[in-house]
């Protein structure tokens, strides 16, 4: 059983290599180690907080789990776009049917100035996020 899995593993990674499958920064050998650099990059991009080593470990497990997809030989198979790909894309007529609900929308906003949503200036600078420190764990 192990031999077969190993065979599949080898073939899959070769196929993955050929398809040019890229996972930015992750170890292509498949050991699933995620570097600190990648964590920082992800935190900046997605504004999530990998507060602890536990969270990073969970991420690595998730990647390893998804990597098992590579065990499938997909040579000559057209990639799927989405599960909807053979549905018909509905085309709506160009009529105005919604809008005009500013009061309702503004209820969602923490701060409001004269019917404008209020947001912090520009984007939150990265340094401010750092100040929060690794105190809270990602639940």
């Amino acid at each position: 059983m192990w031999a077969r899995a190993a065979c599949l593993g080898l073939r899959a990674s070769a196929a993955a290599q050929r398809r040019g499958f890229t996972s930015a920064g992750a170890d292509p050998q498949g050991s699933g180690r995620v570097t600190a650099e990648l964590i920082e990059h992800l935190e900046r991009l997605a504004l999530v907080d990998f507060g602890s080593q536990e969270a990073v470990a969970r991420l690595e497990k998730a990647i390893a789990f998804a990597d098992r997809l590579r065990a499938v030989d997909t040579d000559g198979v057209e990639p799927m776009e989405s599960v909807l790909e053979d549905r018909c894309l509905y085309l709506r007529s160009d009529n105005v049917v919604e809008g005009n609900c500013v009061e309702e929308l503004l209820q969602n906003s923490h701060r409001v100035v004269e019917e404008y949503f209020v947001a912090p200036p520009g984007n939150i600078s990265w340094s401010k996020l750092d100040e929060k420190g690794p105190s809270h764990t990602a639940e």
Partner: protein, 557 residues
């Protein structure tokens, strides 16, 4: 101070580009901590030396600049790309926003048919290949005016690719020397617009209005086939005219309906392309060429002084007249593109592939759209040149102002005057008055009929052309009067009495024997003097050509 020497090749001969001397932004030009590494992998910060103090160095070779454009045009539609809220320029903040636009959970995008048609029309007009299957993707980045945290766009497979756009630039100093250039259209894609942010630096906050969020945009990507600001501006102008003729976008830059980002790099001819910078926020037709030329010159100076060009995003500061690095764009952006999971592929058909019995509301037939394409500006111009024997630059000028072509054609309908004369009156006198008072053609106090009537008077030789100019001025000022009335009031009719003219000519010649002597001696200018004298005697009511004819006859007889 030596003027900056231009060793920059611009085949289109752009004589109107930015003079940079005295720009005070040099001090903060280059960021001190550069995060993007440029070619050598080190961040070397070159002190940007004053451009005004350039001296030509020995062995300097010529430079060539390469300019590519990404143009965003707001689609002219009633509702937004993926939702049914209204598209309108000025409205109370957040009043044209649906739950989907505000990115509330549980909402899904529903594609607007009109936007797809607009994209296909534009693709066909730019000679593109329309992809019968195109896909939607998510482009992720965080900004307050992008409530979903991503923009739905078409990155993998856009709706139209591989087209071309022909535009005209002036070469040489004379207006008449124009050449046609082409720029390749890499692709056209459908995407969502973002909302608007108003930055309140005083209170350290940003006010967000989502009225614009979700409005359909056509992004037209032009390959870097242009080499200077003037070419880029001409290409944008032609695209604007095409979009307006198609009705797919009103493309008014002042209302944010047409926005341009430029990708600019410089290199020595024969060598590989240089590092490029992206210049955003080029939202004014007037400053487009200037901003691009400034950036080209900045890059040349930087490289000539041993510096490096960083692959960064810059913004054009209109007040200072220079490009500055943008604050939030440090480091390369990773947009983490992924397929939009809520939208199946967009399928388009042609007459051959149209499925039988399909709901016409649900399918788009490319061939039908092609058949119904309105006339493109280039075709209109060609027709004008062929039909009226007009000069090409006049055809350009007629199409360059809203309503002017229609005005011209209406005048032509009611007059027998030569097209060239009519064109000259419309483009010089009429347009001149409009521009002086900053009026649109639709606001003109002079109607096409009035101008036609005036031109008929000139044609019949009822009045001279200089008198006609006076009449025109009066027409402009006082509403309701006809040219004929004004002519009568001001007594501008040309002298029709041949007998009286003959007498006047004889009398003038008798009164000025010296001039007649000069003329007989062969002085060519004497005749003009005589004509002038006779004209004065007739109080300007005689046609100079007629006077000349009579004088010459009398002199020889």
């Amino acid at each position: 101070m030596a003027a900056p020497v231009l060793r920059w090749l611009c085949p289109g001969r752009c004589w109107a580009f930015a003079r940079i001397g005295g720009c005070s932004c040099h001090g903060r030009g280059v960021p001190t901590a550069s995060t993007s590494s440029g070619k050598r992998g080190q961040s070397s910060v070159a002190r940007q030396s004053l451009i005004t103090a350039q001296e030509p160095r020995k062995g300097d070779r010529e430079w060539a600049a390469v300019v590519g454009l990404e143009i965003h045009a707001q689609i002219s539609s009633n509702s937004k790309l993926f939702s049914g809220s209204q598209v309108h320029f000025a409205a109370p903040p957040n009043s044209l926003v649906s739950f989907f636009d505000a990115s509330l959970p549980g909402t899904l995008p529903v594609l607007n048919r009109r936007c797809v048609e607009a994209a296909v029309m534009t693709g066909l007009a730019l000679d593109c290949r329309i992809n019968k299957k195109s896909l939607f993707d998510r482009k992720h980045y965080f900004y307050a005016d992008l409530p979903a945290g991503y923009q739905i766009t078409q990155q993998r497979l856009p709706i139209a690719v591989d087209g071309s756009l022909a535009y005209s630039v002036c070469v040489g100093k004379k207006l008449g020397q124009a050449v046609t250039r082409t720029v390749r259209v890499r692709q056209i894609q459908l995407e969502q617009d973002s909302g608007k942010s108003l930055h309140d630096d005083l209170r350290s906050q940003t006010l967000v209005d989502l009225n614009r969020a979700g409005v359909g945009l056509l992004e037209v990507v032009l390959e870097p086939d242009m080499s200077c600001g003037e070419e880029a501006a001409a290409a944008v102008r032609e695209l604007q005219l095409i979009l307006q003729a198609l009705g797919t976008s009103r493309a008014i830059m002042a209302e944010g309906q047409l926005r341009v980002d430029a990708n600019i790099s410089v290199h020595h001819p024969g060598e590989p392309l240089g590092v490029r910078t992206e210049v955003k926020n080029l939202n004014s037709a007037r400053f487009l060429a200037r901003a691009i030329d400034y950036e080209i010159q900045r890059q040349i100076s930087e490289l000539e002084n041993g510096g490096e060009i960083l692959n960064e995003t810059r913004s054009f500061d209109y007040k200072l007249g220079c490009t500055v690095p943008m604050r939030d764009k440090e480091g390369k952006q990773d947009y983490r593109f992924m397929p939009e999971p809520n939208l199946p592929p967009l399928l388009l058909y042609d007459s051959a592939s149209l499925p039988a019995g399909a709901d016409p509301q649900q399918v788009i037939n490319i061939d039908r759209i092609r058949e119904q394409l309105p006339e493109l500006p280039s075709v209109t111009r060609e027709k004008l040149v062929r039909r009226y024997g007009m000069l090409p630059e006049h055809s350009f000028a007629l199409l360059n102002e809203v309503g002017l072509l229609e005005f011209f054609q209406n005048v032509m309908k009611e007059t027998r005057a030569e097209p060239k004369k009519v064109a000259s009156w419309v483009l010089n006198t009429f347009l001149g008055f409009l521009k002086q008072q900053n009026l649109a053609v639709s606001e003109s106090p002079v109607t096409p009929s009035a101008l036609a009537e005036l031109l008929n008077l000139v044609e019949r030789k009822a009045i001279s052309s200089s008198a006609a100019k006076q009449v025109f001025e009066e027409l402009w000022r006082s509403e309701g009067k006809t040219p004929a009335q004004i002519v009568a009031e001001k007594q501008l009719e040309l002298m029709q009495d041949d007998e009286a003219l003959e007498q006047l000519c004889r009398a003038t010649m008798e009164a000025h024997p010296q001039v007649v002597m000069d003329l007989k001696k062969g002085n060519p200018r004497a005749i003009n003097k005589l004509i002038g004298l006779v004209r004065k005697a007739t109080l300007g009511r005689a046609d100079p050509t007629a006077i000349k004819e009579v004088l010459e006859r009398q002199l020889s007889g």
